[in-house]
Subunit: 164 residues, 2 copies
């Protein structure tokens, strides 16, 4: 069993490392979108370091679950040789869908930083539109921190009308 | 683009094929549990035929998202050469967690048959215990059918205390 990753940042705002990772993810998402791909990118950080950053890979993998967050967490788990990513931060260009939010919790991640918020984007990015992130937060068996809308203005054009 | 799979069964109860697949999945889950593994098994059916049946593979893959349902849907997508599994039925020994339920919807699956219900099992199998399947059903942007508690008495001992 590897050592724990250490606690996540306690900052009530994104750290410099988290903001820098989000900016890189947005640049990568824009590059993917420009070549006709699904322009959503996620990263896993630990100790201020990016462990993995990955784009959505549903089409490439032929697997409907391979959203950017799922792929980035799988890559981080492989890099760190553990499925328990407690202490890490999940950073993503778009608020995680319900699948990815639950996957984050299965990985033990309790800190989430993202750009575009559900209420600012096309509804196609979510499956249970009647539930908000606040609803999930209230229903969670264990708490987590979510910091949304960070750098949103730098990426919202990709998701506002669902044309990324 | 492959042809559509055709509509799912409209039966208000599980079909014979669905019940048979669930019985096979329960037997496989029990066999996995007896060897110390995570005894949860899921299957994808189409046209009354089992396209894929898979156990949880989180430990084997080192990927925290590789629940039985995720793996079975990925295998079905590969077998059918499509990520859109609309028309298929998802069959599973345990009510899908929030991740797997959303993954089912991303795959376009609108018919779910499962054995052990959330209210009958240990809470560890869910991340957002304050939300029920009825809440997700009410919040879904597109409808789906869920038939739970089928053959529950044949498998509940695995999940009642979370010791499967």
């Amino acid at each position: 069993m590897p050592d724990p990753l250490g606690p996540p940042p306690s900052d009530p705002r994104p750290t410099e490392a988290e903001t820098a990772a989000l900016r890189d993810a947005i640049a990568q998402a824009r590059a993917v979108a420009e070549t006709g791909g699904m322009g959503i990118v996620a990263a896993v950080l630990s100790g201020g370091r990016v462990i993995a950053m990955r784009p959505n890979q549903v089409e490439e993998s032929g697997d409907p679950s391979r959203h950017a967050e799922i792929v980035a967490m799988a890559a981080a788990a492989q890099a760190l040789d553990r499925v328990d990513l407690s202490g890490a931060t999940l950073v993503t260009t778009l608020q995680p869908c319900e699948m990815c939010l639950a996957a984050m919790r299965w990985a033990g991640i309790s800190r989430l930083v993202f750009a575009a918020r559900q209420e600012a984007v096309h509804p196609k990015y979510f499956q249970f539109g009647g539930l908000t992130l606040a609803d999930f937060h209230a229903a969670a068996d264990r708490g987590f921190v979510h910091l949304g809308g960070i750098l949103e203005e730098e990426v919202i054009d990709l998701y506002a009308d669902g044309q990324e």
